[in-house]
Amino acid sequence: MPILSKEEAQALLKKVLSYSKADECEVSINGSDAGNIRYARNSVSTSGAISQNSLAVSSAFGKKLGIATINEFDDESLKKVVIRAEELAHLAPENPEYVSILGPQDYAAPSKQYVPETASITPKLRADAVDLSLKVAKDNKLTAAGFVQNSIAYSAFMNSKGLFAYNTSTDINFSVTLRTADSKGSGYITRDYNDVKYFDAEAFTKIAAQKATGSIGARALEPGKYTVILEPAAGIVLLENLIGGLDARQADEGRSFLSKPGGKTKLGEKMLDERVNIYSDPWNPELPTAYWNGDGRPQEKMSWIEKGVVKNLYYSRYWAQKQNVKAIPGPDAFIMDGTDTSLADLIKGTEKGILVTRLWYIRPVDPQTLLYTGLTRDGTFYIENGEIKFPVKNFRFNESPVIMLNNLEALGKPQRTVSGESGTNGLIPPMKIRDFTFSSLSDAV
């Protein structure tokens, strides 16, 4: 089945709802067409095309809920899926946390997530991009491993109280790692866009090539506390865990870094340097995201950290009702304010420090302090008197984003990036941080 237009999706969901006998009913449909190509050892390895669609019916009688789905769309199948959801609801135990479905919402205009040029990407375009990337690798006597994936996706949601929402989006994701023949140097870059016009495999690969060549002959520095400059691809993997930890229920229940003794939280308190401002905005032209979330709530522009103060937490609809507050949904992506300072100028202004391209294998160590561990990877360099002096061996760190954002020295110009750990997108600046804790050395290149 092709990607459904808003009108086609609306007609289909309306038909499904017309079969419902439940007290409350929600119907959703989503689908995608995606293609990818993967390369390694300077040659293509695997590639593919995947097409999927799914329709879900959620039927409630009182607080008893049943859910069923189907991927056939003839009338008989649609009737069957509604009946199945209703049968399941009758069999289900009462869910004390069930919250009655939303009425119609006043959504703002959709953000520009869908770009027709991205939607029309062909296998040839992907192969051509890989061809260019491989040429850069071969010209520099490096070995490339990379990945290109593009997709078109849509989702639509309708319920028996008259709510309807539709969204469609496109995406292109690229990453490449270049390694020297003797495996003594490695460089990386990743990019993710809605609009294919920003996708330049050749230019991106050249940046990774420079890092690979520049990282040959890395010297070992003693582990310890260092001033670091985290490029956006490195910073996002720590910041996403801070933003991902802003769940109100965890905080209220006393099991979060935001919890205080006696059931209180740090909401409204200054926890970070006053230059830290983090928010989400579905209509940001560089990082558009969906204008409604999975349960139909509108996604609004929302401040999470303002001048270092925890400004808002996000809630499930049940927890918001219980706490008698607005049910703010969690963000799909986040934006951190920066300055006009380029990465080059941040480096120039650094007496002694370490430039970090990428952080890897990030895992929680202590949820109470939001302590995380992980390692540097694919381009780590020593800076002295404003210049990159030499590559350094990779480090393991043990650091909390809370401590890190209290040790902020300077911010650079924000750039759209994507987490290599989760795929979450962010628009975030390079960050210069003092006293970042490197606890051991790694021999990995």
Binding site: S51, N95, T177, D366, S400
Partner: protein, 545 residues
């Protein structure tokens, strides 16, 4: 399904709502529908459509996988059932070689036209990409098996057990934890059934039925005065078993240590009672003094260290550079294997790859490219002797046939090299954990898995756990907290000085081993007996914010 999707669906991840954009991994279905298999004769017909269509478009090799992937979760917290979810994912993936290059396409539309179209797409992609290839794909020879089948040897199909029985078990677990002083408890039963059909132009038509189970809980206790909190996770293992895994059996319990441990049957209720007490002890435990300790690692902990530091670096695709952009490469380069002298660990260290071990997560009859499964040495008397390979890699390490390590987590994803069960063999001389501990002067006994992180070539790692006990002069001296150990893989395995015997051998494992782009998960078990490592660097993880 990715680990993060699981955390989202179960609501167990902090920041779960952050993941609302992640597509669900399958359709949600009526529990009763999970019991209906698809007739192999029908799957053969569909497969032949794909094989013929690909051949007619110019494919020189084709394989087809028809998969029906069923999951069931029962999710509870305290006295509430939060979620009961049944999902199904059904579709077909076609992999071809055309012009010497791989191509792949997948569809969930199971009519003949859609299947033929997907086959044509796969061939078109292969032909388009062939210009980017440095040398044609070389497949190790593989005989066709004809029409065969394999079923996991389970005793009780978990999908046939009524939901009420599952809910009652979890609520009794939660009740025990709360009565034991917990502030919160989350518990989950997770069941998987993969109904997989494989057909190839080699002449195989293979029907397989695979089952997995994972019972788990997290108990949280908060000190109201200080606001400090601690958690204790279940000491269960995910297993390639049916519902019988969670029917307790006394003969599968190991008693006498600080907590009861479990072999092939798990007592969730008993573990929750112990966990509720231990989480309180963790709140008042002594914070560890950083330094060198001899570590005594229980199999409920050691499985993860084996997984990260032995399983991953011996994956041949990493060694060759296929994962350089994501999961990483490996320090166990081909020259180390060719030398037949690379000292990976002490002479006590014997590690095998095994896709046949009953009750393990990796056990199947045939892998996802139609190769019958087997067992082989990877580390022999401390020396690196082999890797984990699939058909298009076998020639690189001089093998005449694949080791059967090919797997895809779904019909929609292309199969590639994945880890078999990789297990440390038990010691050959009789040794019980209590006897092992008796000889340790300054050590830490670690049970359960916790935080884990390792570099992209698998040298430097850091692990934590669930329970830590200080060992002083051969005796357990009390509980510790804030413990993590850091080491280098080769140094660590060479510091192995004692391994308990087979009576103590148990399996741990992971449901969510991640690799590949797009990322795929794989389930894998790791066996070991309690093992001692001398002089390992322990750090203190306490911080103030």
């Amino acid at each position: 399904m990715k680990r993060r999707n699981f955390l989202y669906l179960t609501g167990m991840g902090v920041g779960a709502t952050f993941l609302q954009g992640v597509p669900a991994f399958g359709k949600i279905i009526d529990p009763s529908a999970a019991l209906d298999g698809v007739d192999p004769a029908f799957k053969k017909q569909l497969s032949d459509v794909a094989l013929n269509a690909a051949r007619s478009k110019g494919a020189t090799y084709t394989d087809v996988r028809i998969g029906r992937y069923l999951n069931q979760f029962v999710v509870t917290r305290e006295d509430k059932v939060e979620n009961i979810v049944n999902t199904e994912s059904y579709g077909l993936g076609i992999r071809v070689i055309a012009n010497g290059c791989w191509g792949f396409a997948a569809t969930d539309k199971m009519d003949k036209d859609s299947i033929a179209r997907a086959a044509a797409d796969a061939v078109a992609i292969a032909k388009e990409n062939a210009r980017l290839q440095s040398e044609p794909v070389q497949l190790a020879p593989q005989k066709g098996y004809g029409e065969v089948s394999w079923k996991a040897p389970i005793e009780k199909n978990a999908f046939e057990v009524p939901i009420k029985e599952k809910v009652d078990l979890l609520l009794s677990v939660n009740d025990a934890a709360m009565k034991g002083g917990a502030s919160y408890v989350d518990s989950i039963l997770f069941f998987v059934n993969e109904q997989k059909y494989f057909a190839s132009t080699d002449g195989s038509y293979i029907d397989q039925d695979i089952h997995r189970i994972w019972p788990l809980f997290t108990i949280t206790k908060i000190d109201a005065k200080t606001g400090k909190f601690e958690t204790r996770n279940s000491l269960s293992a995910p297993r390639g078993m049916g519902y019988e895994y969670i029917i307790p059996r006394e003969s599968d319990k190991i008693k006498g240590g600080p907590t009861t441990l479990y072999r092939d049957r798990y007592d969730m209720l008993e573990d929750a009672k112990a966990g509720a007490i231990q989480v309180g002890e963790k709140l008042t435990a002594k914070s560890v003094e950083a330094g060198k300790y001899d570590l005594v690692l229980d199999p409920s902990h050691l499985w993860l260290t084996i997984h990260e530091s032995t399983g991953h670096p011996t994956e041949l695709d990493r060694v060759l550079g296929y994962e350089a952009n994501f999961a990483g490469t490996s320090f166990l380069t081909l020259d180390k294997w060719e030398s037949k002298k690379f000292n990976y660990g002490s002479k006590l260290v014997n590690i095998v790859g095994d896709k046949t071990q009953p009750g393990s997560l990796g056990a199947v009859g045939y892998d996802d490219e139609g190769v019958a499964c087997k067992k082989w040495d990877i580390i022999k008397d401390g020396i690196l002797v082999n890797y984990q390979a699939i058909r298009d890699q076998a020639h690189i390490i001089g093998l005449n046939e694949s080791q059967g390590c090919c797997y895809a987590d779904n019909w929609a994803n292309v199969q590639f090299q994945r880890m078999p069960n990789v297990s440390l063999q038990p010691g050959k001389t009789p040794l019980a954990p209590s006897e092992l501990i008796k000889n340790v002067e300054k050590g830490i006994y670690i049970l359960g898995d916790g935080s884990f992180s390792i570099d992209q070539q698998r040298y430097n790692f850091q692990f934590s756990g669930q329970l830590f006990y200080e060992i002083k002069e051969g005796k357990i001296a009390g509980m510790l907290k804030d413990v993590a150990y850091q080491s280098n893989t080769q140094e660590f395995w060479n510091s192995c000085t004692a391994i308990c015997d087979e009576r103590d051998y148990r399996l741990g494992g992971s449901f969510f081993d991640g690799k590949g782009q797009p990322e795929q998960v794989s389930a894998v078990s790791h066996g070991s007996a309690t093992t001692r490592f001398n002089g390992v660097n322990v750090i203190n993880t306490e911080r103030k914010i």
